[in-house]
C-alpha cells in the first residue's frame, strides 16, 4: 500500500459504478481479460506479455515452476502488488470489461469483489465469528444480518459443523486445515465474484487438501476461481482452464507458454516445454 505502484484517481472509480448495474455485468460477473500484462520489480521486468481470458464462474489454474510469476500475476488481479514498493504493472487487466490497472476501479472496491486466500492460513487473532464478520463490518454490516452471513459462509467453506458451537472462541485454536477453510469462508463474506487462491493447500495435509478442493468444486458456478498451484494433480482435478507459465532464464522475463482447457493442456500440450514440465523433466 505504498501507493507508488499504481495510481488511482477516485474520480475515475465512480465512472465504473454504472457499469455494475448493467445486465451484461450480471451475466459475466467475474471474468478477467489479460492483455499483454507485464510486471516489473524496481525496474526489472519479471513477467511480460501475458494475455489470456479467465472465464467467469470457472476454475482457472496457474501452473509452472517456482519463480515463473504465477503469484505475481495472481496478485495483479486484486492489486495486492500495490502493497509492495517498486512494483509496476503494465498492459491491461479487464474485470468484466473495466480496466483495473489504469484505475477503472479503486483497490478497496476491487478487493471486495475479488477475494484472496493465501498460502499460509492467516486467520486474524480474533474469534471465529469476528474473522468472518471482519470484511462485512468494514462496509458497516448490521449485526442480525451478520449472524446469517457468518453461518452461510462457514457452510459454504464446509467448516460450519466443526465450529458452530465455538464461534466465539479464538480462531487460532483451529487446526491448519480448519484455519484455511476459515480463510475461505472469510473471503466469501464480502460476496466476491472472484476468489484468488495462492497455493492454498501447500501447507496442508492431504485430507485437508481434499476438503478444500471439494469446496472449490462445489462453489464453481457461483464464482470465478483463479488458483496458483505447484501440485499438477490438483490443477488437473479442480480446474477448467490451465495457464502454464515459465521463466526460462533470469535474463528474460517469465512468459505465458500456453493456456487452454485443462484436459488439452495435460493430455495434448501444444508446446514442447509444457509437455516436458508435465512429464517432470524440470521444475
Amino acid at each position: 500500500m505504498q501507493g507508488q505502484a499504481v495510481q488511482c484517481p477516485p474520480a475515475q472509480a465512480e465512472s465504473s459504478e454504472p457499469h455494475l448495474e448493467t445486465q451484461e455485468y450480471m451475466e459475466n460477473a467475474g471474468a478477467f481479460t489479460l492483455k499483454d500484462v507485464s510486471v516489473s520489480y524496481s525496474g526489472e521486468t519479471a513477467v511480460a506479455g501475458v494475455s489470456a481470458d479467465l472465464k467467469a464462474k470457472e476454475v482457472t489454474a496457474l501452473i509452472g515452476p517456482s519463480g515463473c510469476g504465477k503469484s505475481t500475476i495472481l496478485r495483479c488481479l486484486n492489486r495486492m502488488n500495490d502493497m509492495f514498493p517498486g512494483v509496476e504493472v503494465g498492459g491491461n487487466i479487464l474485470l468484466d470489461g473495466v480496466d483495473i490497472v489504469s484505475g477503472g476501479i479503486d483497490p478497496i472496491t476491487l478487493r471486495m469483489r475479488v477475494g484472496m486466500v493465501f498460502q499460509q492460513p492467516s486467520v486474524f487473532p480474533l474469534s471465529i465469528y469476528d474473522n468472518i464478520a471482519y470484511g462485512p463490518r468494514l462496509l458497516g454490516g448490521k449485526s442480525q444480518d451478520l449472524d446469517e452471513l457468518v453461518e452461510d459462509c462457514l457452510r459454504k467453506a464446509a467448516i460450519w459443523d466443526e465450529v458452530k458451537d465455538e464461534l466465539k472462541e479464538s480462531a487460532l485454536g483451529l487446526s491448519g486445515g480448519q484455519q484455511q477453510r476459515l480463510c475461505i469462508a472469510r473471503a466469501l463474506a464480502t460476496k466476491p465474484e472472484v476468489l484468488l487462491m495462492d497455493e492454498p493447500c501447500s501447507a496442508l495435509d492431504p485430507l485437508s487438501t481434499e476438503r478444500i478442493e471439494d469446496t472449490i468444486l462445489e462453489l464453481r458456478g457461483e464464482m470465478t476461481f483463479v488458483i496458483v498451484t505447484h501440485n499438477m494433480q490438483q490443477a488437473h482435478r479442480v480446474s477448467d482452464t490451465t495457464l502454464f507459465m515459465l521463466r526460462e532464464t533470469m535474463e528474460r522475463p517469465a512468459e505465458l507458454v500456453e493456456y487452454g482447457p485443462t484436459d488439452q493442456i495435460f493430455n495434448d500440450p501444444k508446446d514442447q516445454r509444457t509437455a516436458d514440465y508435465l512429464a517432470g523433466a524440470f521444475g
Partner: protein, 340 residues
C-alpha cells in the same frame, strides 16, 4: 541457564575463567594440556567441565543471592517502622503529614507517606497519558507508514535519547520546563506537571522502541489478509495490527510506567520536593524517590526517620515487583492465546 551451560563447555571461556581464579598457575595450566598423554587430556577436559560448571553456577547463585538479600534488607528495615517503632501502617499509608522529626497528637512521629504515594502515582500516570499517544503514533509511523524513515531516523534518535543521563533531562526540565510552567501557571513552576513532562520525555524512547517491536512482530500475513478483504490501511492498523500487538503494547506501557515510577534524580530536580498532597498540577509536590534521595543521607541509621525512609523504599520495591508481575501476566496470557 541454557547460555551458562553452553559457555561452560566452551574451552576458551573456562580457561580464561580458570586463569582468573588461580592466577598464579595461569601460565602452567594454559601450556600444560598440549604435552600430556591422551588419558590425562581427557581427565583435564572433564575437570575443566566441572570447574566451568561450578564457576557459572556460582555466578548464577550470586545473582539470586543479591536479589534475595536486597529484598530482605529493604523489607527488614522498611518493616521495622511498623514492628519496632510501632508506627501504625494505616497512619503511614493514609497520613497526609510528613514531618518525622515531630510527633503528632498521639505521640507518634508524623510519618504520613500519602503525599509521596500520591505524588509518585500522579507523575507516573500523567507521564504515561502524555507519552502513550506520541509513542504509539511514532511507532505506527515507523512500522506501518514509512519503515525507511523509521529505521534510518527514528530508531537512531530513540537510541540516542535512551542513552542521555537522567540528570540532563532534569537540568533541561529545570531550565526550560519549570520557567515555562511558571510563566502561565504562576507560582514557582515546580510540581507534578513539570515532573510528568520530564518523565514523559525520558520514558518516550523506551515505550516507543518497545511499541515498535510489538508492531513489527505482527505477522505480515495479517496485514495482507486484511487488505485482501478490502480494508484500508487505517482499518487494518486499527482493527488488526493494534489488536494483535496489544499484549506487546501493554508491556511497553507498563515498563514505561515502571521506569517513570522509579526515576529519582530528574523528578527531584523539577517537582519542588514539598511533602504535601498537591492541590494542583503546578504546585510543589514530592515523590517517594525524591524524598528518599533528599533525606537518606541526613538521618542516622536506626532512627524512626531512617526506618520510615526504608519503608518508602519498600513501597517502591513492591511497586516495581508489581509492574514486573503485570508484564509477566500479559506475556503469559498472550502466549496461551497463541498456543490454543
Amino acid at each position: 541457564m541454557q547460555t551458562a551451560k553452553f559457555q561452560s563447555s566452551n574451552d576458551a571461556g573456562v580457561l580464561s575463567a580458570n586463569q582468573g581464579s588461580v592466577s598464579g598457575n595461569a601460565v602452567a595450566s594454559s601450556t600444560g594440556p598440549s604435552g600430556l598423554p591422551e588419558a590425562t587430556k581427557q581427565l583435564a577436559k572433564s575437570q575443566l567441565e566441572r570447574v566451568g560448571k561450578y564457576i557459572t553456577g556460582f555466578c548464577a547463585a550470586l545473582v539470586v543471592l543479591v536479589v534475595v538479600s536486597l529484598i530482605f534488607l529493604v523489607a527488614q528495615h522498611g518493616l521495622s517502622t511498623f514492628f519496632v517503632d510501632g508506627i501504625n501502617p494505616i497512619a503511614f499509608f493514609t497520613g497526609d503529614t510528613w514531618n518525622p522529626h515531630n510527633t503528632g497528637a498521639d505521640g507518634m512521629p508524623l510519618v504520613g507517606a500519602l503525599p509521596m504515594i500520591v505524588g509518585s502515582f500522579s507523575v507516573t500516570l500523567l507521564s504515561c497519558v502524555i507519552v502513550i499517544p506520541f509513542a504509539l503514533g511514532a511507532a505506527i509511523f515507523a512500522v506501518e507508514i514509512n519503515p525507511t524513515l523509521g529505521s534510518k531516523i527514528l530508531r537512531p534518535a530513540l537510541e540516542l535519547l535512551t542513552g542521555i543521563p537522567s540528570v540532563v533531562f532534569g537540568l533541561i526540565g529545570l531550565m526550560v520546563l519549570v520557567p515555562w510552567v511558571r510563566s502561565w501557571a504562576g507560582g514557582t513552576g515546580y510540581g507534578i506537571l513539570a515532573g510528568s513532562l520530564v518523565l514523559a520525555v525520558m520514558v518516550l524512547p523506551t515505550v516507543t522502541s518497545l511499541a515498535i517491536d510489538a508492531l513489527e512482530s505482527v505477522p505480515a500475513t495479517y496485514r495482507q489478509s486484511s487488505y485482501a478483504l478490502g480494508a484500508t490501511r487505517w482499518q487494518t492498523i486499527w482493527h488488526i495490527v493494534l489488536r494483535a500487538a496489544l499484549p506487546g503494547l501493554l508491556t511497553a506501557i507498563v515498563l514505561g510506567m515502571a521506569r517513570a515510577f522509579g526515576e529519582a534524580l530528574a523528578v527531584q530536580m523539577v517537582i519542588g520536593n514539598a511533602a504535601i498532597i498537591p492541590s494542583s498540577l503546578t504546585t510543589p509536590a514530592a515523590t517517594l524517590t525524591s524524598i528518599l534521595t533528599m533525606s537518606m543521607g541526613n538521618e542516622a541509621m536506626g532512627t524512626v526517620y531512617n526506618d520510615v525512609l526504608w519503608s518508602l523504599a519498600l513501597v517502591l520495591l513492591v511497586m516495581s515487583l508489581v509492574f514486573i508481575l503485570i508484564v509477566h501476566l500479559i506475556g503469559r496470557k498472550s502466549v496461551s492465546n497463541n498456543a490454543q
